[in-house]
């Protein structure tokens, strides 16, 4: 027992959880927390220019560090500004702890200045939201928050602390272990279910693995690779699962979905057995729920029981941490498996499809296209570099043309699709792993939303590369207007405004405009050497579309290749 204020207890409890950095912005209702931060010993505070970016930074940090990221905001608008970032983390099962200030207990419900019911607002997009009513509750609340955020299917947790609770003195007890009565995430799967999965797998002639974000969340990279290689099963990923499996691996087929690889969308329809691991059969991945997987055996492995049967009925459900489930599954495979050789019909089909679409899908003839630019980026970037994206065409071009080689080095706002996510998230990723290069593959529309994080990147010495594919257009919307609305454009033109290299320079970062492939190469090399953020402004033709394309409401079989 030791006496201290609620605010001091919060900082101390965070340090006890090995938090080394928080992203935040102060205001009236969290001043006591900021006062306590002055005396923090191992906690670094990074001042953001908008709270939404604080949440995205915590999210990017969490996805790379694979532990909860922390962000601070004040009450009212500070708290509501966090919400987009919290919802983004929720949709992608990313563990963040958002700590908001709240008006004093006695003022709650009185429509006080900068009061908002953030518990109510955040409820649908958090795993849990706490509001400690006494300072003495804070140590246990923090412990529970990390436990809930990081275990099971991870997700954001909000702690809303009234100002007087932050100021209150109390005898504090910091628990080492915690139990939450109504929360018991499953870790080890039912062996009989895994046995059934093995049986189906061994009988399958054309099995395919569909790897989702769950592989990345649980770090089950080597387990996934072991299963794939032992049974020679080709691997497609969801977009969230991009980077769960090395995309240059001889069994990789790439991401499926609305803008998945053509060969991946094709091969999954020809399979007789799908092993979906840590994937949730989202509409963007599988097209139509009723069509997808018809006549195939589906094995679904996931940590969240509620995902079983939510979008798709399955034959075998293996509920548990996918790392542990995969490890057990591999162990349960018979010792001697008739090893499929590389020219069995199914693996030959994989190669055939890749070769066919490699030929059939032509690129535009211009010197700089999204495809050529991204291939160049991949060529120069080291394999361990971390890449993230903004949302829209830039994101889908990345899905198609940027191979993730080292597992777990790629993430994106795949569930909520938050424009403006990539840049602050890349800064968060850089804070988690300062020693590797971090790239935000951006479009102008998205970058424009959170570009003020350049200040954070420069001042806090977190240099990242903004790979800006700039068509001065809300390109994905324009593509849909071109395709489905008879080219009736509305609200998509950015009219050459602003000049992004000047924006970069205004913040003390480096801005480079490129016009040719050689200039692009030089710019990437210069950015990798720079000790400040670099914005590489790459002109992209506004008429350039993303293909292949599975139109919304249609099935993967209806894919338009644009060829």
């Amino acid at each position: 027992m030791v006496e201290m204020t609620g605010a001091k207890a919060l900082i101390y409890a965070l340090e006890k959880e090995d938090v080394d950095v928080v992203f935040g912005l102060p205001g009236g209702a969290n001043l006591p927390i900021y006062d306590a931060l002055v005396d923090a010993t191992s906690l670094r505070h990074i001042l953001v220019r908008h709270e939404q970016s604080a949440a995205h930074m915590a999210d990017g940090y969490a996805r790379i560090k694979r532990k909860a990221g922390v962000c601070f905001a004040t009450s009212g608008p500070g708290a509501t500004n966090l919400v987009t970032g919290i919802a983004t983390a929720y949709a992608d099962s990313s563990p963040i702890i958002a700590v908001t200030g709240q008006v004093q207990l006695a003022m709650i419900g009185k429509d006080a200045f900068q009061e908002t019911d953030i518990i109510g607002v955040a409820n649908p997009c958090t795993k849990y939201a706490f509001q400690p009513r006494a300072a003495s509750e804070i140590p246990e609340t923090v412990k529970k928050s990390f436990y809930i955020a990081e275990s099971g299917r991870p997700g954001p947790v909000l702690i809303d602390i009234p100002k007087d609770v932050q100021q209150e003195n109390a005898d504090m007890k910091f628990p080492e272990l915690i139990k939450v009565r109504g929360y018991n995430p499953v870790v080890d799967a039912d062996l009989s279910q895994i046995g059934k999965a093995v049986e189906i797998l061994l009988k399958a002639e054309r099995p395919i693995i569909m790897a989702g974000g769950g592989i990345i969340l649980s770090g089950a990279f080597s387990e996934l690779q072991a299963l794939s290689e032992l049974l020679m099963i080709p691997v497609v990923t969801t977009f969230k699962g991009k980077g769960a499996f090395p995309e240059n691996h001889p069994l990789a087929v790439g991401p499926i979905g609305m803008h998945g690889h053509a060969e991946a969308n094709k091969i999954i329809l020809e399979a007789d057995c799908i092993v979906a691991v840590g994937a949730r059969f989202s509409d963007r991945s599988v097209g139509r729920f009723d069509e997808f997987g018809k006549g195939m055996n589906i094995i679904h492995m996931d940590v969240d029981p509620a995902e079983i049967g939510k979008n798709k009925s399955v034959d075998v459900a293996v509920i548990g941490d996918v790392k542990s489930s995969l490890r057990t599954l591999v162990k349960m495979l018979p010792r001697k498996i008739a090893k499929k050789d590389a020219d069995n019909p199914w693996l030959k089909r994989r190669k055939e499809l890749i070769d066919y679409y490699g030929e059939a899908l032509k690129d535009y003839s211009r010197e700089l296209t999204a495809k050529k630019a991204l291939r160049k980026l991949r060529e120069i970037l080291p394999a361990n570099a971390i890449a993230t994206t903004e949302v829209g065409q830039c994101q889908m071009w990345t899905s198609l043309h940027f191979d993730v080689i080292s597992p777990g080095t790629f993430f994106s706002s795949t569930g909520l699709g938050t424009m403006g996510f990539g840049f602050p998230a890349s800064i968060g990723a850089k804070a988690a792993r300062p020693e590797v290069p971090v790239v935000d593959i951006a479009g102008d529309g998205s970058f424009n939303m959170t570009e003020n994080s350049l200040a954070v990147s420069v001042l806090d010495n977190l240099p990242v590369i903004v790979f800006l594919m700039n068509n001065y257009m809300l390109g994905m919307v324009a593509q849909w207007q071109r395709t489905f609305y008879n080219r009736r454009y509305m609200g998509v033109h950015q009219n050459k405004c602003p000049d992004y290299t000047k924006i970069a320079e205004a913040y003390g970062a480096q801005g480079i405009k490129v016009q040719s492939s050689q200039e692009l190469e030089n710019a990437i090399k210069s950015a990798l050497k720079a000790d400040v953020a670099t914005v590489i402004d790459i002109p992209i033709d506004p008429e350039e579309d993303v293909y292949p394309f599975v139109a919304p409401g249609t099935g993967l079989k209806d894919m338009i290749t644009g060829a």
Binding site: I119, G120, N123, P124, K127, Y128, I148, V180, R181, G182, Y183, D304, P305, A306, I308, G309, K310, S313
Partner: protein, 181 residues
Amino acid sequence: MTLRPLSAATTATTANGKVRPLYIVSALVENKPGVLFRVTNLFRARNFNIESITVGSTEQADLSRMTITAKSDEKTLDQLVKQLRKLIDVVEVKVLDTGNTVYRELALIKMKADDPTTRMEITNFAAIFRANILDIGKETIIVELTGTPDKIDAFKNLVDHYGITQLARTGVSALPRGVEV
């Protein structure tokens, strides 16, 4: 366990001809502020339609029991239960097997009864249904009726033509019979 619906009489048929029986879901939840909000917010966000929800104290001071009835197909019911289980404040969720469950609802029904014949008739009906007359005035009569939702529906239909001016139903409360395992 096969999930037996409440009763055939209380099923709903959707536009495409699918039958959606009424199920009873019983949940033990933390007895603290905001829990009812979290549960009902979940139903709204996930598009679950429920018929009734009752919340009250239990034998344990720190737990409340929620009894939820919903007309649903099995797939939706399965999701409802799984999503409820995901809530941190929900400690336990069960779909009750109605063959082995006692369940009751209470209704207060106020009717027009401005002449002696009507008052007599309603009083007689109330006796048959083991209902209580709680209030009689010159213009109206209030009946208290406890029973299964079917029984309340039947009484309501019987007295409907007198003119029901106000009606309050509590929703279903339920407990499984015997010793729980």
